[in-house]
């Protein structure tokens, strides 16, 4: 599907993502890895409070953008077997791989962590291969 290159909102959005991550590191001393924080909130009692607070922030973020710009719209996938399989792959993969786009891709690469650089090259590379070569047939609305 054709989309338009939107560099200005992308750059502003990236600054917000970076600032959110910095805030968590400066005040709580934690790396803002979203997969790790969600899994941690489910799996362990210790530190569940701050993790749940972070997740609530994640959940309400889009409402804030919509409040400032009521015309803002984003697509979501329609439910299908492929969507479920992809969710499972993302869940297993980010735990076995110790992180996702935020923890490895933003925080880890910034810290020049070798593990994060390798992980990011792999998931972006495989993501490009799969998205380019496989017609997953997922519909969006």
């Amino acid at each position: 599907m054709e989309t338009t290159f939107t560099p200005v909102s992308a750059a502003i959005g990236g600054v917000f993502i970076g600032l959110g991550g910095l805030l968590l590191y400066l005040f709580l001393g934690r790396i803002a890895g979203i997969s790790g924080i969600i899994a941690g909130a489910m799996g362990q009692r210790e530190g569940r409070g701050w993790r749940l607070a972070f997740i609530i922030g994640l959940l309400v973020g889009p409402s804030v953008v919509l409040w400032f710009d009521p015309t803002f719209h984003f697509n979501t996938p329609l439910l299908s077997v492929t969507v479920i399989i992809a969710g499972l792959l993302v869940g297993l993969g980010t735990r076995w791989g110790s992180g996702c786009t935020s923890g490895h891709g933003v925080c880890g690469v910034s810290r020049m962590s070798t593990r994060s650089i390798v992980a990011t090259v792999l998931f972006v590379g495989v993501g490009i291969l799969v998205a380019s070569l496989i017609n997953a047939g997922v519909a969006y609305a």
Binding site: M1, T3, F5, T6, S9, A10, G13, G14, V15, I17, G18, L19, G20, G21, L22, L23, F27, L28, G29, R30, I34, M42, G49, W50, G57, L58, L59, G61, F74, N75, T76, P77, L78, S80, T82, I84, I85, G87, L88, V90, G91, G93, T94, R95, G97, S98, R115, V118, T120, L122, F123, V126, G127, I128, L129, V130, A131, S132, A136, V138
Partner: protein, 141 residues
Amino acid sequence: MRNHLFAFIAGLLMSIGITYSQMIDPIKVKAFLDVLGHWDPTLLVVMVSALLTYGIGYALIRKRKKPVFAPKFHLPEKRGVDRSLVIGSVLFGAGWGLVGYCPGPAMAALLAGSLGTLGFVAAMLLGFVLAGKFPLPAGTK
């Protein structure tokens, strides 16, 4: 309580960034990953902007001995590239390429009320639990 408030604001800032940059829209993400289609480099701008913001901030913060509200900084303890990191990152990339959702955007989009997003997140959470129960043998690559 301060921990919870700052974790909430961190999650909120990241989610506003994910939304406003349109990374929350899987069509936009797939338009970046599908390099053989009508390629849209927006996601690249998001990543570079987030990396620069976090990288500059991290360089300033790292001189501190401890975070503002916590006794110490928690950095990942694992060192070196192992089999679990590689296999996990490849599986994550495959799931990301199929639908265009990584954990942050999928969670942020949850309250938009799409069944597809709900199914993806439910499968992802199941993946977190399964990967926690069945860790991959690390064994160096």
